[in-house]
């Protein structure tokens, strides 16, 4: 460790002003703070500083993504062999899954980081860590068979149009990972929906539809059992099938205080409320889906835990978070039931509410100001 520190310190002068590699300053800075906690301190005013900086925050989110990632890798292999009528051991499944998933992760990170570094260099600021999480989220919301160049195009679109245009990490209006997925969903619908793409190299005769896909053609009988949907033994995007793995991630996020439990709880409530309302209405087969099943189908759980809680694009005020989350759950189920052509209501509803989050915050703050003004007026009137 000490040798590493000395090595880094030795290289430092080259990257400072006037050094040989002055232009690459932000690149060097990114790697240095990646290895060591930075020793800079705030030098003006009195601030309460938390020991945790953005890099550590992001790393914890990446840690929380490991359960769905590992399960996803295994499930990709499992679904592939199942569709081909084979039943190999554990390791061949993992091996096949790795072969499919690793390239996606590598492509997403390389494309995204290259763009981030380029922007940081040209704008002369430090490389932000935001992409560490985005780069992991993007492969997890892709179907396993998506062509790699599409992932690269979508990642570039999400990082440039979704984030850098607005000023980089922390300034983006939309969640970048969902922007990437939405881009692919509208640009290459045949690769992102239907029943062909969810199992890697599947046999032709085998139906590869996701639960939401079955609903699209009103095949409610073919829905997998609740246990299969909860545990994740179903075709789907890589990271979203297993509700159990996602719950593990949720525990990590809530325990460390990084993911907002207010948002998660209110998204679930919103989805349940809308599901129950539709159950009461019961006009067609979609409306009759039990409310709890909405929570374990499709990307609802994944979106709730990892996407809706994105601290940049979500509401900032506590009351705002409740409204924001509730509406996400509500609209997600609404889109699923009323427009089955867009099976992934969760993605669209989170993006929609991302846009509304600043508005919600504005009204929460304004109403608080009004309330306190009223209180202070009432107080002075008494005196």
């Amino acid at each position: 460790m000490k040798a590493l520190r000395e090595f880094v310190d030795k290289q430092k002068p080259h990257f400072e002003k006037g050094g040989r590699f002055e232009k690459l300053h932000s690149t060097f800075e990114a790697f240095e703070t990646f290895l060591f906690v930075p020793n800079t301190v705030t030098n003006t005013g009195a601030h309460i500083r938390d020991a945790i900086d953005m890099k550590r925050t992001m790393i914890i989110v990446v840690l929380a993504l490991i359960p769905p990632l590992l399960f996803g890798i295994w499930n990709v292999g499992y679904q592939h062999f199942l569709s081909n009528g084979m039943a190999p051991d554990f390791w061949p499944m993992v091996g096949f899954g790795l072969l499919k998933v690793l390239p996606l992760i590598v492509v997403s990170y390389i494309t995204g980081l290259a763009i981030e570094f380029a922007f940081a260099q040209s704008r002369g600021h430090e490389v932000n860590e935001g992409f560490l999480v985005t780069g992991m989220l993007i492969p997890l919301v892709m179907p396993p068979d998506v062509p790699l160049w599409m992932v690269a195009v979508a990642t570039a679109f999400a990082v440039i149009i979704g984030k850098e245009v607005f000023g980089g990490t922390g300034m983006n209006i939309l969640n970048p990972a969902l922007t990437a997925r939405a881009f692919l969903f509208f640009a290459y619908p045949s690769e992102m929906s239907g029943d062909r793409v969810w199992i890697a190299e599947k046999a032709d005769a085998y139906s590869g539809a996701t639960p939401l896909g079955h609903l699209l053609v009103l095949d409610a009988d073919k829905l997998p059992s609740d246990w299969a949907m909860f545990s994740g033994l179903i075709p789907g995007s890589i990271g979203e099938t297993s509700t159990i793995a996602i719950l593990l991630g949720a525990i990590v996020l809530i325990a460390t205080g990084i993911g907002s439990f207010r948002i998660m709880a209110s998204v679930v409530t919103g989805g349940l409320v809308m599901g129950l309302l539709f159950n009461l209405w019961g006009a067609n087969a979609y409306m009759d889906i039990p409310a709890y099943q909405h929570l374990i189908m499709g990307g609802f759980a994944f979106g709730t835990v990892y996407m809706a809680t994105d601290p940049v694009s979500a509401s900032q005020t506590n009351r705002g978070k409740l409204i924001y989350g509730f509406l996400i759950g509500l609209i997600a189920v609404l889109i699923r039931v009323f427009n089955p052509a867009y099976p992934e209501g969760m993605m669209l509803s989170i993006l929609l509410m991302n846009v509304f989050a600043p508005l919600i915050d504005h009204y929460v703050v304004q109403s608080n100001i009004k309330k306190r003004l009223k209180r202070s007026k009432a107080g002075t009137a008494k005196v």
Partner: protein, 218 residues
């Protein structure tokens, strides 16, 4: 100013040339004044309708600017908007008929948007801002300039959208079949109007980073 006897100006004085070139650059009707966005989103999925639309708008702005500039001293100010609308509407109907007669298929694709040139803010804006107070010759130049400025953006957006959305340019296949066999696919998002908005946004981004004087002060 318009009625004063001035020294005879050369036809293409610097001032007059600016009338032609400014709308192409720092005074572009779409990217700087942000006018005429609606039709820019609607007709740019393919380059051919975009080109025809651009041509129609150039004709209408030029002629409308000329006619209003000639009439400007005879128009009672209180009803000037109505007079301008009558002029624009007649010109648009003419253009529409010509398109129907000679390029019927494109006219079909443009459908309602030719008629909607009447409501295009660029034309009305030029009449109000320029033709009502300037002589015919500068008004013609201003009309051509603004029509061109609009047309250039339309064609650039149409080019990008058609190339990536359909793999064609002006209806001819340009992306080779071999690419498709390797797994390349046309980008369906390009066909949708939101992508036109994003491309216009990118053009504005590039233009502003090259012309710092366009960036507002914070």
């Amino acid at each position: 100013m318009s009625t004063d006897k001035q020294e005879r100006e050369p036809l293409f004085s610097t001032k007059n040339r600016k009338l032609l070139t400014n709308p192409l650059n720092i005074d572009n009707p779409i990217t700087v004044q942000v006018l005429g966005i609606c039709s820019a989103l609607a007709v740019t999925a393919k380059i051919k309708p975009a080109f025809v639309m651009a041509l129609s708008v150039i004709v209408v702005t030029t002629l409308a600017n000329l006619i209003i500039s000639v009439l400007r001293n005879g128009i009672p100010p209180r009803i000037r908007i109505i007079v301008q609308l009558v002029v624009i509407a007649s010109l648009v109907i003419l253009v529409d008929q010509v398109l129907k007669a000679f390029v019927y298929d494109v006219s079909k694709q443009l459908s309602v948007f030719v008629g909607l040139i009447i409501t295009n803010c660029i034309i009305m804006g030029r009449l109000e801002a320029f033709a009502m107070g300037n002589k015919p010759w500068p008004s013609i130049l201003d009309g051509i300039g603004n029509g061109l400025g609009y047309g250039v953006i339309l064609i650039v957006v149409g080019f990008v959208r058609e190339l990536f959305g359909s793999g064609t340019i002006w209806g001819f296949q340009v992306i080779p079949e071999a690419f498709y066999e390797l797994g390349y696919k046309n980008n369906g998002f390009m066909i949708l109007p939101p992508m036109a908005l994003i491309i216009v946004g990118i053009i504005i981004w590039i233009q502003r980073s090259r012309n710092p004087e366009l960036i507002e002060e914070k």
